[in-house]
Symmetry: none
Subunit: 202 residues, 2 copies
């Protein structure tokens, strides 16, 4: 039962933390709060997650790993902003978190920045980047079609959202106070609300 116990305890912590984030995206995820919520001692929590940062990053990774199906953008039963945020999260997901994010970025840096990139590398990046923007544009088109998003320059909007995504992914690599976990969701919604024309308010 050791294995089951280990899983169940670690999972209980993660579930508790994720739930707390779900209830309040700005939740602090403090040691004692999460431990109490999970019905676990602080020591046990420390055992599974040696540092608080580690816990928060794991939770964040968990949120992003819940992949939604591609056609999720069409699901009108959910608010458009939620759907769009989910899609953007999917774009952001490969960036990873913590150490993973760092090594992922190192590759990008190596290929496109460190040495003045070759024309070939440049072209490769451009098509990749353009593909990302087109993808975002496609999602926006869906929302426009269903009337949720006012007709307008979706290319421009996609460009804007893409910039926000880029900023967020870099902030995952650079040092941060607590994990981006608490702030990232807020920023994503702010960006989406800006595009959807709703009052941008945190």
């Amino acid at each position: 039962m050791t294995e089951q116990q280990r899983q169940s305890s670690r999972d209980r912590i993660l579930i508790a933390a994720a739930t707390m984030i779900g209830e309040d995206p700005a939740a602090r995820l403090s040691v004692r709060a999460v431990a109490a919520r999970a019905g676990v001692s602080t020591g046990s929590l420390r055992f599974h997650f040696p540092t608080q940062r580690e816990l928060q990053e794991t939770v964040l990774a968990g949120i992003y790993s819940m992949v939604a199906p591609d056609d999720d953008i069409h699901d009108r039963s959910r608010p458009a902003r939620d759907r769009l945020v989910d899609r953007l999260r999917q774009v952001l997901a490969p960036a990873g978190v913590g150490e993973q994010a760092r090594s992922a970025w190192l590759k990008v840096h190596e290929s496109f920045i460190a040495e003045r990139p070759t024309e070939e590398a440049r072209a490769a990046y451009l098509t990749l980047d353009r593909a990302g923007r087109r993808q975002i544009e496609a999602w926006l088109a869906v929302l426009t079609d269903e009337g949720t998003l006012a007709p307008g320059d979706n290319e421009q909007r996609a460009l804007f959202l893409n910039t926000v995504i880029t900023g967020l992914s870099i902030q995952r690599v650079l040092p941060a106070e607590d994990t981006v976990l608490t702030t990232e969701t807020a920023v994503l919604y702010a960006a989406v609300d800006a595009v959807l024309g709703e009052p941008a308010q945190g």
Copy 2:
């Protein structure tokens, strides 16, 4: 001597805090540390600066005003969005363009990403980053005071704008189709409009 006492005590605190920042830009400016350094009790510090944030902002404002006067943000003869965009451009300026941007980024990369950063480096970046956000927040406060910007969570708004700035500065380094400059302005205005609550449309 009341006036002199008040000034000297308040000033001693500010001087102590500024000195600590000078010695170590990553200083945390905690209540007890500053109080001890200024030769003052924590209670006295609390009296002059009811909240710790207030102290930190005052110190930062003092430092910033020496470096760069930001009068332009007050110029009501120009639209608020233009003024704010200008200020953000100023933040973005040190990032440079083209080759300059590349080498500037290389330094950041070297210090904070390439090697897993030391705790010291981490802290240094954090205070730098925080200072930037506070600066943006200060500008937003001006707009709130003059009634242009609806009262709200300016900290959150600053966080959002900061993310956009980060994204733009990286996009200056990464390969781009045409000059980023044409699209950059549009993105900046989109972000600013999002914060100002105007219909976000380029």
